[in-house]
Amino acid sequence: MANASYLRTEDAPLLPPPVSDTGIAGWMRRHVLSTMNDFSSPGAGIRSVLMGLLTLLLLYYGLSALWGIIDFAFIKAVWSDPEGLKRGVCTTAEQGGVATGEVGACWPYVQAKVKLFIYGRYPESELWRPNLIFALLAAGLGWIIIDKAPGRRFIALLMLSVFPLAALILLTGGHAGLSRTGMVIMAVSGVVLTLAGHLGLRGVLGEILLAFGGGVRLLGLLFLIIAAVMFFMSIDYGLEKVPTDFWGGLLVTLVVALTGIVASLPLGIVLALGRRSSLPLFRVLSITFIEFWRGVPLISVLFMSSVMLPLFLPEGTDFDKLLRALIGVALFSSAYMAENIRGGLQAIPKGQYEGASALGLSYNQSMRMIILPQALKIVIPGIVNTFISLFKDTTLVLIIGLFDLLGMVQSSFTDPSWATPVTSATGYLVCAVTFWVFCFSMSRYSVHLEKKLHTGHKR
């Protein structure tokens, strides 16, 4: 029996970590100073000193840049224009105004123009329409983003079907003078194609339709959707019509970006699958499409649509400028999207394809249930990358005379009643912050999505 007095009956009390390892000091020592407090040899000493100097230098430049922005945007800024002096309030006496000392950001200018920046020249009495759309968009997206919200699938479905249609009708006012015959032809051919595809897939209509039934059915459904959209667009809702010339600012930026984003993903998937298809017809068509759109710059696509296209169309054909840009942007980004997704498809091991076949799944089933979920997960960073660059590329629509956020801001610089040395800097600052907020949220959400879908296989 051992002597009990030699054995500890309780744990020794935990000591707090040494002071040098905790708090700000500890963090600094471990993460910052650890690279510059090594003086064990002359070489290491020199390295430490240089490192310290470099750190100080970068700190100085970083802080002074930050200070510059704060100084411009807040401290030296002019905040209000109670007397309605316009440019006078943001200019000094030498420049013809009343401000004293150096002037920073001219916020009254932004206040005066903020409606332009957000809605463009959308009629004031109708602003509730874009507002409603913005609210619905925020609510819908918020709902989908929250992981635990009930009925996310249902909301997502609504956002992809009812919401775009509602946005289209609310923003334009509906009651478009569309040809009834066109609508009927579209609807009838839609029904015929859908039926033909459906029956063809069952092998009733011979071998060719057996092979292409899926495509035919897809085309038919597309026609039906177009017919439905045309139908809803032609109804008179008693809303005032607002032609797209009146749209502008953030509204146009969001319309172009969201249309591009929503259209490019499904189109991109179809193109990516087409490019890897074993049917030469699909493959060649997909490759041609992708390589064509990847081969031309977006600017020239937009230019072609606004400068050349009107020359070919018969006079009086009013093909909406915004619509032209939307189609151009959607096709353009879908080509990039297709290549992103193809990358994902190629990264899936062959065993997955073979396993799916061995289970007796059809092509559609194996793609839907086995391949695409894995492939899309892999390429989330690429997809979001394309979305973000698409969002920023929307600023190019300015060259065809559409005023997106940046265009609206730039055109407001030409108002002589607000011409001051700081106007453009203020405007660009607003623009930069707005774009950053949108792009950064997209990027954060993609990180979150990656973490959520990261089910096991660590990279």
């Binding site: 332009l116 020249r121 020359l311 006079e315 730039q410 030409t414 108002d415 002589p416 011409a419 040395p421």
Partner: protein, 338 residues
């Protein structure tokens, strides 16, 4: 090359097809508004105000045109166009009239299937220098660094001017006018050059406008005016006489404020002009006989438009100069209505 030819051919077919359609005036009356091409923003000529409404000299010309056609100056829609797409937009019929500070030159008048209706603003290229440079004439600028917009006639003109006078120079070119003035303001060049109206507007963006002066030399002729498609003489006449009506109204002293009084005037010329006698000048060009009355009542005369948009009381502070009426020493001259 073959592809280019096919494109050109198609373009020509499209143009001729448009010439055979209904007249421009009929089309405009049918759709109920005038479609007017303006710039994407040039201070005083066409720029959006706080509400996004277009204002400016070029814009007011289009409003006058709408007033003459519809008796309503608001029945006009504006299409902002870049310098590159403006002529296509006009010849494709996307717009009915182009009022976008467009310089009238021989090439544009004769080779593009377009017609200039007149000169609503006589501009010319000017130069601005810092006072500290001590130059009083452009001829003293040997070896200067010059800030210009790329790809514009300004770049060409300034090069020609310096070569003609055997002076050395260095061009500092930028894409956007904002960048040009910012570079000049930061002292990257000694000379800022663009059209004189533009110099006045950009000067407002300098930190110390009083430290800079505009040199007396005007080195190019830039007659700016509205443009219409060739081949529709009626529309061309309307465009031209709306401009003349603005000038005649100023010459008669008719303003938007006193036009109703003037309508009762005994002066036969004024009565004829405002359509208050039996002459039917308005009908002669396909408009109502009160066309000129509507223009002046709803938009004003040329002097009013000038003062409102670019005149001495606006931030641009441009004197009338050559744009004064011929009776006041300028060269704005309109044929009589009779």
């Amino acid at each position: 090359m073959k592809f280019k030819k096919v494109l050109l051919g198609l373009a020509v077919v499209a143009c001729t097809a448009s010439a055979q359609a209904a007249t421009t005036l009929e089309t405009i009356k049918e759709k109920g508004y005038l479609q007017c091409g303006v710039s994407q923003g040039l201070p005083g000529f066409s720029n959006p105000d706080d509400k996004g409404n277009w204002t400016g000299l070029d814009v007011d010309y289009c409003r006058a045109l709408a007033a003459a056609i519809f008796g309503d100056a608001e029945k006009v829609r504006f299409t902002p166009l870049s310098a590159k797409e403006r002529f296509t937009a006009l010849s494709s019929g996307e717009i009915d009239v182009l009022s976008r500070n467009t310089t009238w030159s021989m090439t544009r008048d004769t080779q593009l299937g377009l017609n200039f209706v007149g000169v609503t603003y006589y501009d010319g290229q000017g130069m601005m220098v810092p006072k500290s440079l001590g130059a009083t004439s452009a001829k003293e600028l040997d070896g200067a660094k010059i800030c210009v917009n790329t790809g514009t006639t300004t770049e060409l003109n300034i090069t020609d001017y310096f070569k003609t006078h055997n002076m050395g120079f260095e061009l500092v070119a930028f894409e956007k006018s904002d960048e040009v003035i910012a570079a000049y303001g930061a002292g990257r060049c000694d000379v800022y050059t663009t059209d004189r109206s533009g110099v006045a507007a950009e000067r407002l963006k300098l930190a110390n406008p009083d430290d800079h002066m505009v040199l007396p030399e005007i080195i190019s002729k830039e007659p700016l005016g509205p443009v219409v498609r060739q081949g529709d003489d009626q529309w061309f006449n309307i465009g031209r006489w709306v401009y003349y009506a603005l000038l005649n109204a100023e010459e008669f002293g008719i303003t938007s404020a006193n036009v109703d009084e003037m309508a009762n005037s005994e002066n036969p010329e004024i009565k004829r002009f405002l359509g208050k006698d039996d002459s039917k000048f308005g009908e002669g060009i396909g408009l109502g006989n009160d066309w000129a009355y509507n223009i002046v009542k709803l938009v004003g005369n040329y002097g009013e438009i000038y003062d409102r948009n670019v005149g001495p009381d606006t931030p641009l502070k441009l004197e009338r100069g050559v744009n004064a009426l011929w009776t006041e020493g300028g060269i704005q001259y309109a044929p009589p209505v009779r």
